[in-house]
């Protein structure tokens, strides 16, 4: 097939952002269509070049066609929406019903999150996987936080062992997710601004960890509520077809949950801190689009 048509199909492939299996079916179907179209045009007396140009005109914009096919496939079922919302609901419940201090509940949640993340990863990375994947990275971040409380002189542990391992893990998972669809990286990172928001609002400086735990206990129902709101956001995201609506729902939810953190902590989160968190949230949710573009250009 001529190069211009190959470029056209490459452009469709780049913009489809669907499961690999669906993507290859769509591309193969369009290839067969182009094959028939070219044959008919050539039989009608057109040269190879004329037939290619006519075929490209008939096909229309590659981006538009890819977007419309994406919208035909993008809507997840209610089961998928529920499955995707579950890690947020689970995390919310840990706080809302005060299970978070029970080691058994925490371990159970951890095993479930890791199990679902591994299962989804090997089952072709369906859309419901990414919220689970986000939470499965929490133990990595929590281990980093615990390193802050190490006795002086032990910081080399963080530098030599923890940092390279954690960065490698985060980088490889993020890049693989972005290659699938940058929006799924945003979905994966969705709870991060809320977690940072609660951490900043609740963390007392120069106080004992026990005092910190008491503060979490005090705000636990509200922490739970913000994560339940994230669960609702994710379910909505899965049910939406259009990309711009999906982006909007993530950004609005980020703004809403940060506002909830500021509201429920009654001024513990200052306005400048809130504004910085909003910027961090926008960066986290939207920067994967830029990374995707860079990855495409660098191959």
């Amino acid at each position: 097939m001529v190069t211009a048509l190959n470029h056209y199909l490459d452009s469709i492939r780049e913009n489809l952002r669907l499961d690999r299996s669906v993507e290859s079916e769509v591309i193969h179907e369009l290839e067969t269509h182009i094959e028939d179209e070219l044959q008919e045009l050539k039989e009608a007396g057109l040269s190879e070049e004329e037939a290619t140009n006519t075929c490209l005109t008939l096909l229309g914009s590659a981006k538009l066609l890819a977007r419309q096919i994406y919208e035909a496939h993008s809507q997840g079922s209610w089961t998928q929406a529920l499955l995707a919302a579950m890690p947020h609901v689970l995390f919310g419940l840990l706080f809302a019903v005060r299970w978070w201090r029970g080691v058994g509940w925490l371990l159970g949640a951890l095993v479930l999150v890791l199990g679902m993340a591994v299962y989804g990863w090997w089952r072709g990375k369906p859309a419901w996987l990414f919220p689970w994947l986000g939470y499965s990275l929490l133990p990595v971040a929590a281990a980093g936080l615990l390193l802050l409380y190490l006795p002086k002189g032990w910081s080399w542990v963080a530098i030599v062992i923890y940092l390279p391992l954690a960065l490698w893990l985060l980088y490889s998972i993020t890049v693989k997710t972005i290659r699938r669809d940058w929006l799924y990286t945003s979905l994966m990172l969705l709870p991060v601004p809320t977690i940072i928001g609660w951490f900043v609002a609740v963390e007392p400086i120069n106080r004992l960890p026990e005092h910190w735990l008491q503060r979490i206990e005090h705000f636990a129902p509200w922490i739970g509520l913000t994560f339940l709101a994230l669960g609702l956001t994710v379910a909505t995201f899965i049910r939406l077809r259009k990309r711009w609506l999906r982006v909007s729902v993530l950004v609005v939810s980020g703004l809403l949950t940060l506002t909830m953190v500021a509201y429920y902590t009654e001024g513990r989160l200052s306005l400048p801190a809130l504004l910085v968190l909003v910027v961090v949230m926008l960066l986290l949710l939207l920067s994967p689009a830029l990374v995707e573009r860079t990855l495409r250009h660098t191959g």
Partner: protein
């Protein structure tokens, strides 16, 4: 032209279900068949056809299946499903009601006078 596009847009699903019910078909054949049977009135672009086919498939109304042509080439044939058949029956009945109602309104005024006298 824009009016015709709007009319077609609203009837794509019914047209596709109707055609696929009569015989399983692949994309290129659907475009040609629609154009032939409608004497050139329905000229679907690929950008209209494939998203519609994939939408119908996602909704479970049709099912795509790769089949080999006599020349050995593979084509993705679409078959109507039970759910698609039920939808088609409902849509046919709606279209018939719509056409009868449209004819009653659109027919020339003289016919209307005769109907009134009668």
């Amino acid at each position: 032209m824009a009016q015709r596009r709007e009319l077609i847009k609203g009837s794509i699903d019914s047209l596709l279900l109707c055609l696929i019910e009569q015989q399983p078909m692949y994309g290129y054949l659907i475009i040609k068949e629609l154009e032939r049977r409608s004497q050139g009135y329905f000229r679907f672009k690929e950008g209209t056809l494939y998203p519609a086919l994939h939408r119908l498939e996602e909704a479970g109304l049709i099912r795509g299946e790769w089949q080999a042509l006599p020349n050995g080439r593979q084509r993705r044939y679409y078959h109507i499903t039970g759910k698609g058949l039920r939808r088609l029956v409902a849509e046919r009945s709606q279209w018939q009601d719509f056409l009868v109602a449209m004819n009653l309104i659109i027919q020339p005024a003289s016919d209307y006078g005769e109907v009134k006298k009668w």
